[in-house]
């Protein structure tokens, strides 16, 4: 049942200012057909994590430790050529900003057709490949796909561009679709349509969806499970509804409180901002902001404790 | 209280120090600063003292190669090359500096007015800029000197005016961008006056770009000024402006190449140093400027 | 509470596009809106709905092409006396661009304090700057800092302090938290709420996030394609939307709201081009209630209850369904 198995993944960026510990000791799984959301604030390491799973981590980022098993295959040990076969076919990505993730100088149809070409199904110039691309565009509900095939990105609305990116990602019926903030640049009514489309495609193709987002509302809406990251570490994971109704980790609690807003009340969310990942605080990285922090927290070593269906990295649950 | 004021001032100094550190990290730019300082010093000393009279003809010493008495040799009239280079530095560098100052001042002022106030004035300035941009810069400078005639001030005018349209374009486009920045709009909401916003919020953000651009233009202008001199359209003879030196010496390239080689090395070094300095300043003053400069 | 301080009548604003200004984009098309003293009125809509343009017009930062805006006894169209200008302040979306990168927090605040006419000695300026920073949850330690040394939330707090320095009555907050992370968003919203309680500020709050609107606003104006679709008290509109677009927006929202809207309208289509908007009701191509009449006539904003206005001929049907 397990499709993706990430174990102890640690990713650093070597910068002149120092080593950024972007992801530390990330361990989790994604089952077939499952929707898992990784949630965190900017700089929490969630995008780095996603990029490394898709094999798109670029220097100065590097995997320091850990493994990524995909259908039992260790992705972290793969060479470029093998990666190229998997990428775009078995593991695909939909990115955040549809305006910059499409090549502005190439018509969108060809950009979709390239997926077929990349996996040995004929040149983008061939009529057959073009036809398949048009079918895929139709599948993501782009109207007049044979006309839209020739459009350039700047001629399409944001929502349409996002559909084109999704078309590329689902063209070869992937097993895992990673969606990095797929809707945060879009308007609410478009966002809802895109989320509906992703959910529909996931069901139809039986793929797994790894959703990277900063928006707890989006995660709650479509994810089965939620993984919460703070400052490069996983602090909590569990079923989406349980996390929303009963967050355990003090950070998750603050996060949930900051999106479940009551009318005109003082909210009591913790002050301060996430720490620098070059010199993170010792022990629990949340302790400087945590209302429950004690002496012990500074000496604590990151561990995910099991509690019912949940895993939580806080000494309160040790 | 006064402790706070001190901390505010210290932070200001720290920011300058940070820029200086970034600048120094660029070794080529840092070295260029020394090269240019040496040249400036040479020009300064040259005004009061040169080993020989740069204009004195001594045919007995003509076309001497490098020697202890004449480190850079002598030319075909026996004039000491080092003395002439020192004397010429004042002209080549001074004229270029004055020209860039003129071009930057006039061009920036027009660009600022054009971009900030818009309207008919903007339209007129823009059309005039189009016309001036229809001529290659060097050709514009040549045409202007041919009209103005030989003379130090005329070279300054010609080389300066030739760069005016480029400054107008640059500054106007930047002003248009800065004018819509939220902090400028917030200033308007505070009731700050137009000129105040212009001088306090727009100009300081522009000034770094103008300084960097002017550094690059020093390199280009040195080449233009010396080219005018080379063609005999620059300063009047026998002033040893570096380009003029090469122009006068070109017939001796076949027999005594050092008379051409020496001033050329100085021109190249000066232009090169300004180009490298520009890169260093660009990165130190504002890392985002690289994209800003290229976009306009 | 019900004293109207800003009154906008038939506001129209066009922008010219293209090389020759041949194309006209009508960002705001005939809007009436009032702002009451001490309230928070939210302008809600998607990109291109005209909410930002309208907000700027309401505080006199933009001049409408047609229509009038008055703030108390002053017309907002030309230059305002300084003390009036000071009473209408703004806080913008992008914290990175809203502070001059070359100025320290000290200078930013000092400029505003002087502009407010509170001039006087350096010491007094410093005192006032510190008290402003404390008001927004910062401290004197922030005075020496440059914007790039501040976090997004801190920048936004400084921007709020700068606006407060003018002792404003009305603050236009244009998506003040949308560029921030969730917890910081909540911190800033909470700050805005506290400041309103303490100083009796009036907010024009532009947002696309319904939970923020829910948190902060007393009244909501839902905008669609340059026009107002619906105006009314926040609770009523969230519970009982009368315009199909409001219902669609509530259905689409991923914001965590205390209750689901009574009516579900499945989101379809996209907002129209403002260069050539559809005739009649601009929402009709996406509307499940659309009839022939909707295609032909532009619906007027009409009263359907105390303080509730809606621009839909089928509003009663929508409310009943």
């Amino acid at each position: 049942m397990t499709l993706l198995d990430v174990r102890g993944l640690t990713i650093h960026y070597d910068l002149p200012q120092g080593t950024v510990r972007a992801v530390e000791d990330a361990t989790f799984t994604v089952d077939r057909g499952e929707v898992v959301a990784i949630i965190g604030e900017s700089g929490s390491g969630k995008t780095t994590l996603a990029m490394s799973i898709a094999g798109l981590l670029r220097p100065p980022g590097r995997v320091v430790r850990g493994h990524i098993y995909f259908e039992g295959l260790d992705l972290s040990r793969l060479d470029d050529e093998k990666w190229r076969e998997i990428r775009g076919r078995d593991i695909t990505v939909v990115f955040q900003d549809p305006n910059t993730y499409l090549n502005p100088l190439m018509n969108v149809g060809r950009q979709v057709a390239e997926v077929f070409e990349a996996h040995g199904m004929g040149s983008i110039r061939s009529r057959e490949v073009a036809q398949r691309a048009i079918e895929i565009l139709r599948r993501v509900r782009i109207q007049d796909p044979d006309k839209r095939y020739w459009s350039y990105p700047h001629e399409l609305s944001g929502g349409m561009k996002q559909r084109v990116l999704i078309a590329m990602a689902i063209a070869l019926k992937p097993k895992l679709l990673i969606a990095d903030e797929p809707t945060s640049a879009l308007d609410a009514t478009i966002q809802a349509q895109i989320l509906d489309l992703l959910e529909e495609l996931r069901r139809e193709m039986g793929m797994s969806l790894l959703l990277i987002t900063h928006d707890l509302g989006v995660a709650a809406k479509i994810a089965h499970r939620i993984i919460v990251m703070y400052a490069g570490q996983i602090v909590e994971m569990g079923r989406a509804d349980e996390i929303m109704s009963d967050p355990l980790h003090p950070y998750t609690r603050a996060l949930v409180r900051s999106v479940k807003l009551d009318r005109k009340r003082l909210l009591g969310v913790p002050s301060g901002a996430p720490p620098s990942l070059i010199s993170p605080p010792p022990g629990c990285r949340f302790h400087p902001r945590c209302p429950y922090a004690t002496e012990q927290c500074t000496a604590w070593r990151h561990t995910l404790y099991v509690r019912d269906n949940r895993r939580v990295a806080c000494i309160l649950y040790a | 209280m006064s402790d706070l004021v001190r901390r505010v001032k210290a932070a200001k100094r720290e920011r300058t120090a940070q820029m200086w550190r970034t600048f120094r990290a660029n070794r080529a730019a840092y070295a260029s600063l020394y090269v240019l300082a040496a040249m400036a010093l040479m020009a300064l000393i040259g005004a009061f003292y040169t080993p020989y009279d740069p204009y004195r003809i001594d045919l007995s010493a003509a076309l001497g190669f490098f020697s202890p008495a004449h480190p850079l040799g002598t030319d075909w009239l026996g004039r000491d090359m080092l003395s002439r280079i020192m004397e010429g530095a004042r002209y080549t560098l001074g004229i270029s500096f004055a020209a860039v100052l003129l071009g930057a001042a006039v061009g920036s002022a027009l660009g600022l007015i054009s971009g900030y106030y818009g309207g008919l004035l903007d339209a007129i300035i823009q059309r005039a800029t189009d016309v001036l941009l229809a001529f290659p810069t060097i050709l514009l400078a040549i045409a202007l000197t041919s009209v103005l005639g030989v003379g130090i001030l005329n070279v300054v005018l010609a080389a300066g005016i030739a760069t005016v349209p480029i400054y107008i374009r640059l500054v106007r486009n930047l002003t248009l961008t800065l004018r819509n920045e939220p902090y400028v709009e917030a200033g308007r909401a505070m009731g700050l006056s137009g000129p105040y916003i212009l001088f306090r919020h727009i100009l300081p953000n522009l000034s770094y770009v103008i300084v960097v651009q002017s550094t690059y233009y020093m390199g280009i202008t040195i080449l233009i000024v010396s080219a005018l001199g080379f063609l005999g359209l620059g300063v009047p003879k026998p002033i040893p402006e570096w380009g003029t030196m090469i122009g006068d010496a070109r017939d001796y390239i076949f027999t005594y190449p050092h008379v051409v080689l020496v001033p050329g090395v100085f021109i190249s070094a000066a232009a090169l140093a300004f180009n490298l300095l520009g890169d260093g300043l660009r990165d130190a003053l504002d890392p985002r400027m690289a994209t800003l400069l290229r976009r306009t | 509470m019900s004293e109207v301080i800003i009154r906008g009548r038939h506001i129209v604003k066009e922008f010219r596009l293209g090389l020759t200004g041949r194309l006209r984009l009508r960002a705001v098309d005939g809007v009436d809106l009032e702002v009451m003293r001490g309230e928070t009125v939210a302008l809600v809509g998607e990109s291109g709905s005209g909410k930002t343009t309208l907000g700027r017009i309401l505080v006199g930062l933009l001049r409408p092409d047609r229509g009038t805006v008055t703030y108390r006894e002053w017309g907002l169209g030309g230059r305002l006396p300084r003390h009036v200008r000071a009473r209408l302040q703004v806080v913008f979306q992008n914290p990175d661009a809203s502070l001059n990168p070359r100025m320290q927090v000290m200078d930013i605040l000092a400029e505003a304090i002087r502009a407010a006419g509170d001039t006087a000695s350096r010491e007094e300026v410093l005192d006032r700057a510190i008290s402003l920073l404390e008001m927004v949850g910062l401290s004197a330690d922030h005075l020496p800092k440059y914007p790039h040394e501040l976090s997004g939330g801190e920048k936004q707090r400084v921007a709020i302090a700068r606006a407060l320095a003018m002792r404003p009555e009305v603050v236009l907050a244009d998506e003040p938290v949308s560029a921030l992370d969730a917890i910081v968003r909540a911190q800033i919203l909470e700050l805005m709420y506290r400041l309103q309680e303490d100083w009796g500020l009036t907010y024009i709050f532009i947002s696309h996030d319904l939970s923020h609107v829910w948190y902060l606003s007393d009244r909501v104006a839902i905008m669609y394609a340059g026009q107002i679709a619906e105006v009314g008290p926040t609770e009523e509109i969230f519970r009982e939307p009368a315009h199909p677009y409001t219902a669609m927006l509530l259905t689409s929202s991923t914001s965590v709201l205390p209750y689901k809207p009574r009516l579900t309208v499945r989101p379809v289509g996209e907002s129209p081009s403002l260069i050539s908007p559809p005739p009649g009701c601009r929402f009709h191509p996406r509307c499940p209630y659309a009839t022939e009449q909707c295609r032909a006539e532009r619906p007027e904003l009409r009263q359907i209850g105390p303080g509730r206005l809606v621009a839909c001929i089928h509003a009663e049907k929508v409310l009943r369904s």
Partner: protein, 307 residues
């Protein structure tokens, strides 16, 4: 859309051309000295000079003179060279092919060397090409053209006796001037190529291309190099335009009978009709090339097609 753009650009160019003609007209009018006296020569009597002034229309008000000048320019009459007595246009047409030949050769050479060098430098900054690119990048635009020209003459004509030091006629005559100009152009070209490529390499759409599993060479050609071309084409346009009129110095040093040298010659003999005509033609070419660059830009970049 394209038609509208053409019409707009055409109008803009027409206005600029009128401005250019006006500037050239005024340049000669504010010249020191009396053009009639100049033309007549120092020996001519005062009456002859006055007669000539009337004949040339120099006694009429300035705006009438401009109208007359403008109309004659429009009809292709650029005046007569006082030195040769020939129509200016004939002289220019005789020189133009030389300038064009040199410009095309230098630009081609510069592109052929600088663009690949810039590309390799962006992809492998620590390779030999990377260092070569940085050196060419600053050096090319820092060395004065007249100096490199003289040095090359010294090396290849004087010392090695391989190539002629000046003149025109055989392909060998073209080698040195082409090399000098190409070196100068390469400086900016290498820098822009490298910077533009680096920018595109960091662009998000390249990540998308990788995420499809596209082979690296296809990512490079389709998504990186093609996109990086946009600023390069602009620069090449400006450079080529500059070559047509701005190769003044190279043409002078090598005695190349092109239009740039014509400009300098006519300055020294005060042949203002030729000077005016030559600069006008250069400016026209300059504008035409800019226009052409815009068209190429529209071909490469669909976003510019919508104005």
């Amino acid at each position: 859309m394209v038609l509208r753009f053409l019409a707009w650009r055409g109008l803009q160019m027409a206005i600029t051309i009128i401005g250019v003609i006006l500037v050239l007209f005024l340049l000669v009018r504010i010249l020191p000295g009396d053009p009639a006296r100049l033309l007549a020569g120092p020996e001519a009597s005062q009456e002859d000079v006055e007669e000539l002034r009337r004949l040339l229309g120099l006694d009429r008000p300035l705006h009438e003179q401009f109208a007359a000048y403008f109309l004659s320019v429009l009809s292709g009459d650029l005046g007569t060279s006082y030195r040769t007595g020939e129509p200016v246009i004939d002289e220019i047409m005789r020189r133009l092919p030389y300038t064009l030949a040199l410009a095309v050769a230098a630009q081609t050479l510069a592109i052929a060397v600088a663009v690949p060098l810039g590309i390799v430098a962006a992809l492998r900054p620590r390779s030999i090409a990377g260092y070569a690119a940085s050196i060419f990048g600053v050096l090319g635009s820092s060395l004065p053209v007249f100096w490199t020209a003289l040095l090359l003459i010294w090396a290849f004509s004087v010392e090695l006796k391989l190539l002629p030091s000046g003149g025109a006629g055989t392909p060998a005559h073209m080698v040195l001037p082409t090399a000098v100009l190409a070196l100068f152009l390469m400086g900016n070209l290498v820098r822009i190529t490298r910077a533009s490529l680096l920018e595109v390499l960091g662009a998000n759409h390249v990540v998308t291309a990788h995420s499809k599993g596209l082979p690296w060479n296809k990512v490079l050609t389709r998504h990186v190099i093609r996109n990086a071309l946009v600023p390069i084409v602009t620069l090449v346009g400006v450079q080529f335009g500059t070559l047509l009129g701005g190769a003044v110095i190279t043409e002078t040093v090598f005695g190349w009978p092109g239009i740039g040298r014509l400009v300098v010659e006519s300055i020294f003999v005060r042949d203002y009709a030729v000077l005016q005509g030559a600069i006008l033609i250069i400016a026209l070419f300059f504008m035409l090339i800019n226009f052409f660059v815009d068209m190429v830009q529209m071909l490469i970049d669909p976003r510019t097609r919508h104005v």
